[in-house]
Symmetry: C2
Subunit: 274 residues, 2 copies
Amino acid sequence: MSTIAKAMELLNFFSLDRPEIGLSDFHRLAGRDKATTFRHLTALESVGLLEQNPATRAYRIGPAVLRLAHLREVTLPRRAGVRMVLPRLAEITGETAHASILDATGLTTLAHHENKSHSARVVLHESSLPLHATASGIAVLAYGGAALMDHALDQMQVYTDSTMRSRDEVTAAADTARKIGFSIANQSYEAGVTGIGTPLFDSNGIAGSVAVAAVSSRLTPELQHTIKQELRRAARIISQHWGGSIPPALENAWTTHLGPDNACAPADQTEKAS
Amino acid sequence: MSTIAKAMELLNFFSLDRPEIGLSDFHRLAGRDKATTFRHLTALESVGLLEQNPATRAYRIGPAVLRLAHLREVTLPRRAGVRMVLPRLAEITGETAHASILDATGLTTLAHHENKSHSARVVLHESSLPLHATASGIAVLAYGGAALMDHALDQMQVYTDSTMRSRDEVTAAADTARKIGFSIANQSYEAGVTGIGTPLFDSNGIAGSVAVAAVSSRLTPELQHTIKQELRRAARIISQHWGGSIPPALENAWTTHLGPDNACAPADQTEKAS
DNA sequence: CTTGCTGGTTCATTATTTAAACCGATGGTT
DNA sequence: AACCATCGGTTTAAATAATGAACCAGCAAG
């Protein structure tokens, strides 16, 4: 593995729970030598990808990422296409809608929209989602190929009693998702929350997923049907906005599972969402 | 220089004008061997910092930066403190207000707010500002130490007829800014636009700057006075929000140049901006 | 069929990275 | 005070990884 990749791996140890990491912690977390780790950290710091908290000497993500993220969003907008449909998705379903983007390390939440009318609503607190335990994750696994599946199966953390523990369960869930066009994660990430998701595509192919996280006790068959129809609609709009197209296999899965796009007959070219 | 830093340097060649760069262009821009460049690029791609446009094979900034930027903004919010004051700054001055953050590579625009009432207003189009040619840049140079000044003097691009060309001019401008507490860039970056700026601080010290970009023909002495007073106010609020404090030297410079904080007598603890 | 470009690859040489041990400082215990 | 553990950081020879000249293959224009 190149030293560049090794250094970059260090960045993946940051999370909302662990926003600052000291040298020794990095040394332990990464399992690499301390001197090596130190050299990597200072190198990352020199380019602004990390910065050091002067008080604790711990490292945190640096300001350079803001510049890069801005540049990325300006030259290749992703949020715009998502923000266009999430409000409607949350409103019609009455639950929390969110969209995620796939990268080398997993699934990153791009935007989310909570439905304010319910007092009990699902609050998303993590920006990075596990592939094997969420509807969003299963959705991308269903269309992501073998390499992504291997990657997911290598790190199967357990979150709830219902989290899938065996590799076979995960592949089976992905197969089901591929068959019906939607992934369903019943309390496998968070107790009391059921996720329903479907994949998103850009010109590269699979690029992310859009999902609705519903309070399990509210999830009637009718609501589930509504959610799926709205997800289909949202996935079409977002994927189109991202320069991608829905694979015929997925179109077929949707149609056989839900019936043709009867909600709005003119099909593809419906009016834009609010 | 570490290979990590060398690889990361490649990311700095991206800009709004050049959002995608091919292998050969990188090889030329960076002046490094093509094989080396290629390996760096694939390494960066493997960790999601870059991705390849499948059509052109050119490289562009990857999705991983979105995750990192989100994490940074959640754990160390910077935009929040800025968004709190920019609208007022733009409204009262009637011009365009913006705030930038300092990192290893220069000054990155964090947020900006245009005043919609004027038909002729300054539109910011770049996310990265040159240190030597903008009010924002001079403001941080005045408080940034010798290393930053050297860095700035090494890359003095010329933008307009009024862009400072000699190193002495830049250091003199920084000295003036240090003396009066405000930096002024008269059409040195864009013709017809005069910038007035003042530095921002976090717990590390100098961290960025806030500035107003005004249409030069509208900039009366009275308006300039208003802008400075509002900048002082904004800089206080933002720096406090960022966990920093205004150095006594800057406080003194402000006071001798503007007089005491007469706009709102109770001084420090005024009510929050809208 | 050149010529000149593109992205990508190979392999011997070279130089950077690596890891064990070491350092000095800090902080809590006995 | 002495002790112990831990912190961030530094040093060394040994090993691994980076390097760059040359080389491919594909493509477009002349």
